[in-house]
């Protein structure tokens, strides 16, 4: 499936901003199942220079500064990507949770060093007995890991109330977990915390979701959203497999990955600081437009 994704973020300030420093992670990078045909990051007003690098997880990070007074900042990322259908993963036989965990622990898994940063605590996620207990029925050691992760995905989907006003972008994972509500970010964090509490490597994924208009209505341009889900390491052969607890599914052609990290703090789409600005107004529009397959 091929898409053109346009993600526009604009900040309007009531008084001018004299300086800003930004780090953005809005550029998808090639990874298994994802081909990036084209990408463009447009910033208005234009910075003197955009520094680009890869972080240690392979994500593309761009950085820029604006040192002249400005009253508005618009960051527009346009990407054309193709996503491979992975729905067949639901049917494959996967190694058991125990086998995957053991492969990392005894280093027999050839990819252990790349995967190991995702089994420990991270700034937003701390493993705990509570997460462990809550997910125990989903993640028994001898269950095939894809099946186990799907069970966890379903468990979160069923027990957590989707409430976009209940949590903030900085709500701690444990708080969202106690309250059993939140949005995609909280669900992904909770899922990752449960998996890691069982010793399973899991990461947080930020990206886009293609949404379908209600029956009979035209697709609304710009009404899509950035989205977040989780990714589970399923052993050497399968590698990382993505699950979306917000929509209770295994991710396939509707999910487009931009960046993955230990938790949200590693993959914040736009971060940075600015001086001045008075009252800033933020507006975001995301458009995931399917392109005709060639």
């Amino acid at each position: 499936m091929k898409y053109r994704i346009t993600h526009t973020t604009s900040y309007k300030y009531s008084t001018p901003v004299s300086v800003c420093h930004n780090v953005v992670m809005l550029t998808p990078h090639e990874c298994p199942g994802l081909i990036v045909h084209q990408h463009q990051l447009a910033i208005e007003p234009g910075p003197a220079r955009i520094h680009q690098r890869q972080d240690m997880f392979g994500n593309v990070v761009q950085r820029f500064s604006l040192e002249e007074s400005h009253a508005k900042l618009v960051i527009k990322a346009v990407s054309e990507v193709s996503v491979q259908d992975r729905s067949d993963l639901a049917g494959v036989t996967s190694p058991t949770c125990r086998q995957v965990v053991a492969g990392l622990a005894d280093r027999t898994d050839a990819r252990w060093l790349d995967v190991i940063p995702f089994v420990f605590d991270s700034p937003r996620i701390r493993r705990s007995a509570d997460f462990h207990a809550w997910a125990s029925a989903d993640l028994p050691p001898d269950r095939p890991i894809v099946e186990a992760a799907l069970a966890l995905t379903k468990h979160i989907y069923q027990e957590f109330r989707y409430d976009k006003d209940a949590t903030q972008v900085d709500t701690p994972t444990s708080v969202a977990f106690e309250a059993r509500h939140g949005v995609c970010q909280d669900f992904a964090h909770v899922g990752v915390a449960c998996l890691r509490s069982h010793g399973i490597a899991a990461r947080y994924v930020s990206g886009y979701l293609r949404t379908l208009p209600p029956e009979g209505k035209p697709r609304l341009v710009g009404a899509d959203q950035s989205h977040a889900w989780l990714s589970v390491y399923c052993g050497e052969t399968l590698g990382w497999v993505d699950f979306d607890p917000t929509n209770n599914c295994l991710c396939s052609t509707d999910h487009v990955t931009v960046a993955s990290g230990r938790d949200y703090s590693d993959v914040v789409p736009i971060k940075g600081v600015f001086l001045g600005g008075g009252e800033p107004t933020l507006s975001v529009s995301v458009d995931v437009a399917p392109l005709d397959a060639d």
């Binding site: 300086v19 420093h21 190991i116 605590d121 976009k164 972008v169 949005v183 509707d254 940075g272």
Partner: protein, 858 residues
Amino acid sequence: MTLFLNSPPSSSPLFGQYAPPRGIFDEAVTSTGQVRPSWQPLLQQLGEMGMERLRSRWNQAQAQIERNGITYNPYEEDGLVSRPWALDAIPMVLAESEWQTVTAQLQQRARVLDALLRDLLGEQRLLKDQIIPPELVFGHPGWYPAYQNLPLSQERLLTYCVTDLARDPSGQWWATGDRTRSPFGLGYVLENRITTSRMLAGIFRQLPVCRLAPFYASLKEELRRLAPRFKENPRIVLWTKGPQSRGYFEDSYLARYLGYTLAEGDDLAVRNDRVQLLTLGGLLPVEVLLRRLDDDDCDSVELNPASQIGISSLLNVVREGKVAVANAVGTRLVESPAFLPFLPAVSRHLLGEDLAIASVATWWCGRDDWCRYVLENFDRMLIRPAYRMADVRPTVVRSLNATAKDVLMSQIKASPERFVGQEMIDRSTTPVLTDDGVESWYVGLRTFQLQTKDGFRSLPGGLARVSPDSDSLNFTMTAGERSQDVWILSEQPVEPFSLLEGSSSLLAPRRSGSELPSRVADNFFWLGRYAERAAQSARVLRTLYASLESEDTDGPENLPLLRYLATSGQVDPDHVVPEFSRTISDAASSLPDCVLDVERPLSLRSSVNNALRTALRVRDRISLDMWQAVDRLQDGLQKASERIDRTSVDMADLLETTLAELAALNGLVGEGMTRTLGWSFFDLGRRLERVTQTSALLRSFLAPQRGDAEMLESLLTVSDSLMTYRNRYLSTFQVPVVLDLLMTDTTNPRSMIYQLIRINEHLDAMPGNLHQAQLNPEQRMAVHLASTIKLCDVYALAEQNDSGRRRQLVSLLDQLDADLPRISDAVSSRFLIHAGLPRHFGVQHPDRDSRGTMEAGS
């Protein structure tokens, strides 16, 4: 036990009682009571000096330490809570031969730490080859992905590092821990040496004590070498956490000694892809940052977003190789105790060498077998956090009660990877001078290693911490009762050396220019204002107290003074009703609070405290005498506030002393400060404050009043102009000539016009104002005010209407009160408040509406 059979002179009672505990190593005497050879010359000489002289020298030294404000902040809060640095009279002595053996081992250890860091932040062979468990890196709360692959090649990671030592009963040294971030102590080491060598000057000169200065010269050299550009004379900044931090005294001390600009995060910013020092004259690029703050505080964009003290985008400049940071960002990682048990393997793996100096046995509980061992031998353990993020007091298990032990044990079982258990060492003891004579206290020794182009070298000395209680030495550098200078006695005569010499090329004479950080100028400005405000309050209060002591306590002249205090919210306005005949005696009850109450923002003590706080922030830029003057002011008021009895005689005395100290401070500023921009801002602040205060006084005294002789006399007294008036007009008091003296007389340094002329001069000389064609808004206002005052007709101002009001005077004062704060604000926004607080970009929660509109699997 009989001591000193052979060596100490029997005539000396100094060491007669010295009896170290059995079964441990004593630095000065052997187990059979023989003085160790390296200690003989010192003990001999101290013995000759005698207890009395040693004690009196030591008291002098202590007083000197207090006067010089050598302090440390035990808590990171108000900069006013600080303790004098506690130094012991007796240095700790080590023979150079032993020292060389130990430091060779310490230098190897430093190489291991550097190699460990280089590997963990780069290639990670130690993880691949399973020497270090990956959890120590990826599970470390102080590790950030951004640390990986910062430029490792051109920059050394550790410029200097610390190893703390303890000596066991057999005489062997053990490393109890390392510090790799930007270790404390180099400043205190110097201060200890300066104080001790002065206190024991005769002895110090005679003994071949290794000099410290070459090490610091080397440090400067190595920092210069790090600079990406201008290696001959790069701009190097000592980046401090700020006056509230534990290390601030040392930071300012070192900055002054090494000759670097002391800068806080606010003074530095990334512009044009470089780190720049924000000064009054503009931005100045910085080549090297000697950082004294935590790694994750360094850059709030890429590291801890909650931190306010970093430089936004610093890491990007580091990545581009356009600034060097010492020690490099990320180096704190390996000072965590969890690494200690792995160092021997790391040393073999990376250097192919055995680790020469062993660490105290340490077990990381993240390994099952080690955790079991720690829990099985719990009572012998010292429990520390495995990952060092802050100074956390370690727990001595055997000192806990049963409940506390259980709690700790269950904490370890719940998150074993967060703890280490450490064996405790029976530390050695060393002689200390106490009230009871010379006693043996336990000692811990901090050593310093510097990386040079020829490898590591060690400071020939260190920071000894001594305490009668061995356990307390396991804590931080500032733990322990006192510190001691460490004398490494050379086998050869030592060459005198001073950092002040050095460069062989001749310096060209320079004048200080505009290279003053804006924050420093801001502090000078406020120091001037607070000092002036304090002087004004003190004069008003002194006049009131004098009147209390006089026979006629209800004199009408007191009313305006009380009104003046009431306007600034210092006394209850109810005391200021003219009909009330007992005004003054009523108000008298609240006068001590006007002097001493810190809760009142405009009390004398508040002004003095504010002055001290601002002085603290520019300590590296004011003379010791100035600092002492401000400190004495604060001290006097604080001592007074601790007394319960506050008679008016005492208070009057206190006010006299305070005014004398303030006069001394002004004298020091006037005669001692170079006429740099720092001085200009101090004086600008003082002038603005004085004209503001004079305006307030005139309003209180003359706006609604007739102005009889007593009142005018009182006004002239608090305005410090009575003498001049008497010389001119003898004892006839009239309003117009009083107004002339206080407003329009350009020869009276207390008059308004005098202040305004100075203000104009300062504004004209500000950076950027010199050669411009147009006046700035603040210049315009100041010129306008000066001409208004110059042009005013004092007879017209003195005129009263039917109800007794001086309409013209009031409207002039209104104008002054409106414009003076505007001038102050304009100056602030042009030169001082350059930045404001950076804010973080808000982001929208991802996925606000995505649920339910998608069909899975479509």
